[in-house]
Amino acid sequence: MSARPASALTNALLWVALLATALGNVYARHEANQKFGELRRLEAVGDELGIEWNGLRLSESYLARYDLVEQTARVELDMVMPHPSDVAVIKP
């Protein structure tokens, strides 16, 4: 293959292509940074929500602790454990 002088058109096209890819690269980089920032923000939000969820579950387990439930049932609601003779078991 003999080296043929590139036509002006080819040159121009290559220049345009170079510029376009360069700009594309810059844009992609920028986009990546933006997206990373967004990801970080969302992750932080997710973490906060997870922490809040755990905190709520903790409070729930504190409020629903068994001794409190039992005391409420016995003292406030006057509930008693049914005697086995008062229990009817229906076998399928």
Partner: protein, 597 residues
């Protein structure tokens, strides 16, 4: 194209331009070319620089330049939570913030700001000043460790330059002492130190992430660049514990401990069909959230670390060996008269002479003489191998740190006296968990399932260690122990049939077995028609006039078993089932009578 058209238009109408009358400027042809060339070169230079900056990876930029605006930031992740089998939290890591000061940038600006800062932090301003001056040379000074995030946010709201927060995680145990021994705890760096926290540390542990961030002139982080290492929170651990049963066992044991001022105690609840540990509690207790009093004595999960001589609770397994040998059945008669048996230089005694007893009778009366005679009649190797298969003398599969394997000497070293005393549970030692495992075998028709603290994804295959008929006969014999005239009648339940055995063992002290200090307990399974649970209660050195296992431990067993079966919605297998039929008949009778009238 358009340019040319416009040029033509311009030529056609020169008079329309306001400066149309000015003299024509002649420019040398090379000058625009030169300008264009210069501009082109400048652009090329810029483009090259842009390409270099954007395409060449950051790693190739010299260290010093990178550090100018990039900073590596650690992102802490939290340790995985531990839950019970229904997802209730047993241990969870919550964020806490530590307040730090960068002394180079610190500028409180006025005494009132220092006042406000000290108030928000919760320390006196003198204290803060003292800390600052003492650690000034270190660059960064910690003002307060581990504050709740909401309080720490108030510190940051003051906007004092140089003050910043560092996030950590702290472990909380919402159930405190109830599950303390099983869970163990972590150290300040959130590494497991004891219990399941230690055993499953690798599973629970988190990995901190590392991010590359851009900071501005003031050192504030403005944006992120890249993730060097993702942060990975620890995986959660689902244990086999059922918090409801755990709580129940805790209460029942606590009451007995207080009533009897006992030294220590343990309760183990096992699911016989899976080997899952549904509850395990010990006394004395400690609160894993507050470890200001460092007493190793309290941390021990006695149900797996402490051993005791099982006394009478071992007798059913001697009976098992006898049945397995094929030379005995549950009806075989052994003469225990006159209630004394001399082996070697030792006399084995019963409280009184029971005369001829069946195998079931030996267990029901808990006759030492009877069971010793049976044991002496068996091949030592046979007897030993049954005990080994039941898990005595070796670690369970629980994987609990510090677990004890108990003590069971090889039959090679047995002499007749040892073989006889072994029969009623002396000369070997077991943990409460091992005892529960062995009783679970009786409940599971002779199959031993590996015990576990952690939920399995798929059912596990057990290993048959006793024949089905042996297990069935044992179950029937152990039911007689709980009969109204048996030693364990206080373990009876209203709605369920119980099979179990009491234990009252003298403790070995310097110089021999004590007559005053005992280990008492009760081990059993229920409902006897189709066992679901194995429960072992061990209470060490109870005080009081009657400190036998039947008196001290059997009621605890009954409380735990009754509550646990109810919580698991196990159908009653005695009396009430019949009344149910009656109740329905009555109901129907009333209804039909109503219709007729």
């Amino acid at each position: 194209m358009t340019a040319r058209v416009r040029k033509k238009a311009n030529r056609r109408k020169p008079s329309t331009t306001p400066k149309g009358n000015s003299p024509v400027l002649t420019v040398a042809k090379w000058r625009p070319a030169l300008v264009l060339c210069g501009l082109g070169l400048a652009f090329l230079g810029l483009a090259a620089r842009a390409v270099y900056l954007q395409v060449v990876p950051l790693g190739k930029i010299p260290e010093g330049q990178r550090n100018a605006h990039l900073i590596k930031v650690k992102l802490p992740a939290h340790r995985g939570p531990v839950t019970d089998r229904h997802g209730e939290f047993l241990a969870v890591s919550m964020p806490v913030d530590s307040v730090w000061v960068d002394t180079a940038a610190f500028f409180p600006g006025g005494n009132d700001r220092v006042e406000a800062l000290s108030e928000a932090i919760g320390y006196s301003s003198e204290h803060i000043q003292r800390r600052l001056s003492r650690y000034m040379h270190m660059g960064h000074v910690s003002l307060r460790r581990h504050m709740p995030p909401k309080k720490a946010a108030r510190v940051m709201a003051l906007n004092v330059p140089g003050v910043y927060l560092r996030r950590d995680y702290r472990r909380f145990y919402p159930r405190g002492p109830i599950s303390g021994h099983v869970l163990g705890f972590t150290n300040v760096d959130d590494e497991g130190q004891e219990g399941l926290e230690l055993a499953y540390d690798a599973h629970l542990r988190s990995r901190d992430g590392l991010h590359l961030m851009v900071r501005n002139r003031l050192g504030q982080i403005v944006s992120g660049v890249r993730r060097l290492k993702p942060s990975k929170p620890g995986a959660s651990l689902t244990t086999t514990l059922d918090l409801r049963i755990q709580h129940l066992a805790f209460q029942a044991l606590a009451e007995a401990m207080e009533e009897r001022s006992a030294k220590s105690g343990s309760v183990v609840v096992l699911d016989v069909a899976t080997g899952e540990i549904l509850a395990m509690v010990n006394h004395p207790v400690y609160n894993p959230n507050d470890r200001s009093q460092l007493l190793v004595e309290l941390y021990r999960n006695r149900a797996v670390t402490d051993i005791f001589e099982p006394g009478s609770s071992l007798k059913p397994f001697i009976a098992a060996a006898a049945l397995e040998s094929g030379r005995y059945t549950s009806d075989s008669i052994v003469d225990t008269a006159p209630g004394r048996l001399i082996v070697g230089n030792k006399e084995i005694t019963d409280p009184r002479s029971y005369g001829p007893l069946s195998m079931g009778g030996i267990l029901q009366k808990s006759s030492n003489v009877g069971i010793s005679k049976v044991a002496l009649d068996l091949e030592s190797r046979e007897l030993w191998s049954v005990l080994v298969r039941l898990g005595f003398g070796s670690l369970t599969t629980s994987g609990f740190p510090g677990e004890s394997a108990g003590l069971l000497n090889s039959y090679v070293h047995w002499r007749p006296l040892q073989q006889a005393t072994l029969a009623y549970g002396y000369g070997l030692s077991v943990t409460p968990l091992q005892l529960a495992q062995a009783y679970a075998v009786i409940g599971a028709q002779g199959v031993r399932y590996p015990v576990t603290f952690v939920r399995r994804d798929k059912p596990v295959r057990g290993e048959r260690v006793l024949s089905e008929s042996t297990a069935e006969q044992l179950l029937a014999m152990l039911e007689t122990v709980v009969a109204p005239e048996g030693t364990g009648h206080r373990a009876r339940l209203e709605a369920y049939r119980v099979a179990g055995k009491t234990l009252t063992a003298r403790k070995y002290a310097a110089g021999g077995y004590s007559t005053e200090r005992h280990v008492t307990g009760f081990a059993g399974v229920a409902p006897a028609s189709s066992p679901r649970l194995a429960v072992v209660v061990v209470i060490d050195e109870p005080e009081g006039t009657d400190n036998s296992g039947g008196k001290v431990a059997a009621p605890v067993f009954a409380d735990v078993m009754r509550g646990a079966l109810r919580m698991l919605a196990v159908a009653p297998d005695q009396a009430p089932a019949r009344t149910a039929e009656k109740a329905i008949r009555e109901h129907v009778a009333v209804a039909t009578a109503g219709e007729e009238s």
